[in-house]
Amino acid sequence: MLVYLTDIAAWFFSLQGIITVTFGVLMASLVLTFVRLVQGPTLPDRVVALELIAAIVVGVIGAYSIATGVPDFLDVAIVMALMAFLAAVGFARFLEEGGLRDA
């Protein structure tokens, strides 16, 4: 039993262990944010959830880039961040310039 615990601790503090934990935690965050995206009572809530999903995807791309050792995925991360910002500004513009009222 003790051997298993030390194995788990060694795995947790190793590099592939922390990368697997990072993937798991980021997936859990994606699920939680997706819950808010689905049930969010108003449209701005959903936009905030979309923005956080984009940030989490940037994190996933970074972790995957570490896991595979391929740094080319960082371009995808840059594009994800830019798209999230543009989507947020566009939604805000749509809401303020005569979009949905009281919604």
């Binding site: 194995d7 788990i8 795995w11 190793s14 590099l15 592939q16 922390i18 990368i19 697997t20 934990v21 990072t22 935690v25 980021l26 859990a28 965050s29 994606l30 939680l32 944010t33 808010r36 108003t42 449209l43 701005p44 809530d45 936009v47 905030v48 959830a49 923005e51 956080l52 940030a55 989490i56 940037v58 994190g59 970074g62 972790a63 995957y64 880039s65 570490i66 896991a67 595979t68 050792g69 740094p71 960082l74 991360a77 840059i78 961040a81 830019l82 999230a84 910002f85 947020a88 500004v89 939604f91 805000a92 513009r93 809401l95 303020e96 979009g99 949905l100 009222r101 009281d102 919604a103």
Partner: protein
């Protein structure tokens, strides 16, 4: 199970070689520890942002959770990428992503918060302070700025304070009113030509007395205007009170 997790996937095999490379020299161990801390804190901040987005009751509070914790978590993971692959182009891209996140997150949060507030997203029922409560004109879609004192002197509480002092019959107030009444009685005995100047002087002295009594610190011109309006209102109120008292007596 553990071995299966350790040796599953194409990327994990590459990490094994990376670990051996890290554990050869002390600098590599330092980099591995830094990488571990950065990845762990980044993922935990992401989880914190997601939990806050689920648990918090309100659009501004949810943005408070997601904007700061989310962008900081992504920045930490990008820093971990830069530490894991120390080459110039990776550092440049990672720093570009971090700078872009830190520059755009506040702007996006501000824009969405503004749009949500003006569209009419309900605030949490426990909200203590809402500074924009009466400052947005929904018809003209304009936002007034500045405090109440700058916008309209009528609504500011200086006048209200004076009225309250007049209403509450404190002994200080009664004592302060007596010289003014005496001045008026003396002026009645004077000539008609001097009467206007005398009343002006008495008003000035009354104003000075009120200033000294209240001990206000402000520009004298504005205060004089306010006090004149206040004194007019006081007279009206006194007249109304006298009328009410007479009506009650009758």
């Amino acid at each position: 199970m553990l071995e299966l997790m350790m040796h599953s996937g194409a990327g994990m095999a590459l990490i094994d070689s990376g670990m051996e490379q890290f554990s050869e020299d002390p600098a590599g161990v330092f980099f591995a520890v830094t990488l571990w801390i950065l990845l762990f804190m980044g993922s935990m901040l992401m989880l914190l942002a997601a939990v806050g987005l689920i648990r918090l009751p309100d659009l501004p509070t949810r943005m408070h959770a997601s904007t700061k914790a989310g962008s900081l978590g992504a920045a930490l993971i990008m820093l971990a990428v830069a530490v894991a692959m120390p080459s110039a182009d990776v550092w440049a891209r990672a720093i570009a992503v971090i700078a872009f996140l830190l520059l755009t997150a506040p702007v996006a949060a501000h824009v969405i918060g503004r749009a949500g507030y003006f569209v009419g997203v309900p605030l949490w029922e426990g909200t203590v302070k809402d500074d924009l409560a009466d400052q947005y004109d929904y018809a003209n879609r304009t936002l007034k700025s500045g405090s109440l004192k700058d916008r309209e002197i009528d609504g500011f509480d200086d006048e209200v304070k004076v009225e309250d002092e007049a209403d509450s019959e404190s002994p200080e107030r009664a004592w302060a009113d007596e010289p003014a009444v005496e001045d008026v009685e003396q002026e009645v005995t004077q000539d008609a030509s001097e009467e206007e100047e005398a009343t002006e002087e008495s008003e000035d002295s009354e104003e000075k007395g009120q200033k000294g009594e209240k001990g206000d610190k402000g520009e004298e011109g504005e205060e004089g205007d306010i006090e004149e309006e206040a004194s007019e209102e006081e007279e009206k109120k006194k007249a109304d009170k006298v009328g009410e008292l007479e009506a009650e007596g009758a």
